[in-house]
Amino acid sequence: MDAIILQILNGLDKGSAYALIALGLTLIFGTLGVVNFAHGALFMIGAFCSVTLAKLLNLSFETVDPTQKDFLGNPLKVKTPYIESWFGPEVGATIIDWSVPLAILFAIPIMLVVGYVMERGLIKHFYKRPHADQILVTFGLAIVLQEIIKFYFGANPIQTPAPDALSGVASVGGAVGLNIAYPIWRLCYIAFSLLLIGGAFAFLQFTTFGMVVRAGMADRETVQLLGIDIDRRFTIMFGLAAAIAGLAGVMYGPINAPNYHMGMDFLVLSFVVVVVGGMGSLPGAVLAGFLLGILEAFASTTWATTTIPGINQIIIYLVAIIVLLTRPRGLMGKKGVMED
């Protein structure tokens, strides 16, 4: 029982990253009808937002401390981050320690702007072009973004540790007689993504803005005939989708140190998730994300890998192929989407 719960947690953990990226992809696809191959790059940029913030917070000046000597006998140079000198050592250290959660606030405006610029500057011109062209140009954009990040941050992964308070191990399920040790940060990640997904759905379901967007997804032309500027709203949705991907990246930093190609690694799987969930279906994307994550976790157990070696590597693709062949529209895809 413990083992099963543990694998479900592992799956939710991985699955929430898939679900968040797939949700953004589907939002873009459902609203603008664009297949965005650069979405993985947005995830990566999000992760590097937290790297940048950590670097900014750690900007420091050097002072010479005459009371201490280094190993050569010279006076020791002490580096003090500006933050610590402004807010006092303790508050400053805490702020630095919490840089990843703080990066959420830092990343939201950045990602919104990045998404907005990307849509207005590039993708706007590709609505009328065939899907192949959209794939190609966003693929090129992904390469460019990736290389820019690589130029500034180098090719090696950069550690972004979680705050001390959240980096330990928690015991899960003590109340119902289970004893599972699980990293706190991963639990935070699951909770955070559930919150984000819930927020996105609530936004679409309960606000007037969301209502208009949903109407536009269903029938763009009629909404335009009613005199609503749907394009502007869709642009904002693109920004939101970028922000969701970015936040997923920010929070993923402590789990896996960000490197410049992390986006591409996730992108391929996220596409598979979108297709399994059903092109254009938001609940489908989320559901498929979690399901495939859990499936992958179970396939990674020793029992599974000894029965069929390497099953954990191919399970997602295998499932995707089976789903597409038996249910061509995916789990929750609707008729008429992408069937031209």
Partner: protein, 400 residues
């Protein structure tokens, strides 16, 4: 001649002359000069030009004609490489059985994948092929390299070991891939003044095979079959309404392009008998997409140009480092020199991917027909002004 029109024949002739004279053409700078690092006329790179040319020609038969964008063609390249090395391991270093097997195996593999993936079109097809290629990569990288059943040798890459059977190997044959005794590494060097030209056996074998492939591609483009594939691209729905089943045609195109990819993979192994799983990774599939689009999808010569350009960039452009830049811009005043170098530096050397990505984006945005279309536009511009320069774009004749 050869069942080609005069125009196609001259195109084939030009390509033949260019490939045969490549060791001269690609070596324009004397060995001792500062520009020598831009010489591309060394065997290793020339082989890559033609091999990836074959890969791109094959990809173009699928994407250029039918419009089906496959993001998983590297899988066939990898399968071809593995089959060829297996022939080396079992039969000996003669390249013919290896190349033959790599075509056959990748053709069968493409048939299997094609039957499944071609049930869908558009973006679904792209993602399905991507999924298959990633699955093949995972299989090759870890699953099929367990001690009980080691088909791919995993991370190390498949290679020939001393205790392999090599039934037809004999002592008088070279211990490297060869064609009936002629080693693929055999290189004849010719020194002419300050220049050194290298004529490599492996390169010429690959180049001749590429010419054959190119000829076949022209025939396919000009055949009723090719016309049918173009019809699929322009309006598949109408094709279906007229009562024609387009699936066999697309499947045939998929298998043919898979075989081209397999052949390219086999040749890669033939010139360097080591096959690794990274050849199957989806970035490799992306690369052939880049090549084809960059050169001009749907044109005959475009993909070959694109392949050459990208491989040139990868091998030559990536070598430009800071000191080279300093030597170039040394004539500028110091402050200006540093400024120029800071601007240029991110785009060259290790950052060549950035340049590639930017060029690719620009091509997709402004020149959907690739560099060929660019050449045509320039040609038209000249023709508009001066009729005498009309022949300028003759080498970049499009297929459409």
């Amino acid at each position: 001649m050869f069942g080609l029109t005069k125009k196609d024949l001259s195109l084939l002739g030009i390509v033949a002359i260019l490939t045969m004279a490549a060791p001269f053409i690609l070596n324009p700078f004397p060995t001792e000069s500062a520009m020598a690092q831009f010489n591309a006329g060394y065997p290793d790179l020339m082989q890559k030009f033609v091999i990836f040319g074959i890969f791109a020609i094959g990809f173009n038969i699928l994407f250029g004609l039918t419009g089906y964008l496959s993001f998983g063609h590297a899988a066939f390249l990898g399968v071809g490489s593995y089959s060829c090395v297996w022939m080396f391991k079992l039969l000996g270093y003669n390249v013919l059985p290896g190349i033959a097997l790599s075509i056959v195996v990748s053709g069968l593999f493409a048939l299997l994948i094609g039957v499944i993936t071609l049930r869908r079109s558009g973006i679904y097809f792209s993602i399905l092929t991507l999924a298959f290629a990633q699955m093949s990569f995972a299989l090759a990288y870890s699953v099929l390299s367990n001690p009980k059943f080691n088909l791919t040798n995993g991370e190390t890459g498949l290679q020939v070991y001393a205790d392999d059977p090599q039934w037809f190997h004999s002592a008088n044959l070279p211990d490297l891939p060869h064609l009936f005794g002629l080693s693929m590494r055999a290189t004849h060097r010719m020194t002419l003044g300050g220049w050194e030209f290298q004529f490599n056996a492996g390169y010429y074998m690959c180049a001749i095979i590429m010419l054959v492939c190119f000829y076949l591609a022209i025939r396919i483009f000009r055949s009723p079959f090719g016309l049918m594939l173009r019809a699929v691209k322009s309006n598949q729905q109408r094709m279906n309404y007229t009562g024609l089943n387009s699936r066999p045609y697309t499947l045939a195109a998929f298998v043919i392009s898979g075989m081209y990819a397999g052949l390219a993979g086999g040749l890669l192994s033939a010139v360097d008998p080591l096959a690794g799983a990274e050849r199957m990774q989806w970035t490799a599939s992306g690369e052939v997409v880049l090549m084809t689009i960059l050169g001009g999808a749907g044109t005959l010569i475009g993909p070959v140009l694109g392949a050459g350009l990208i491989k040139y960039f990868e091998n030559i452009f990536s070598k430009i480092n800071e000191s080279v830049l300093h030597s170039w811009f040394g004539f500028l005043p110091d402050g200006l020199e540093d400024f120029v170098i800071t601007i240029v530096y991110p785009f060259v050397g290790k950052g060549w991917h950035l340049t590639l990505g930017l060029i690719f984006m620009l091509v997709v945005i402004f020149l959907p027909g690739g560099l060929i279309e660019g050449g045509q536009r320039i040609g038209r511009l000249f023709r508009g002004k001066k009729a005498s320069k009309a022949g300028k774009s003759a080498t970049t004749e499009p297929a459409e």
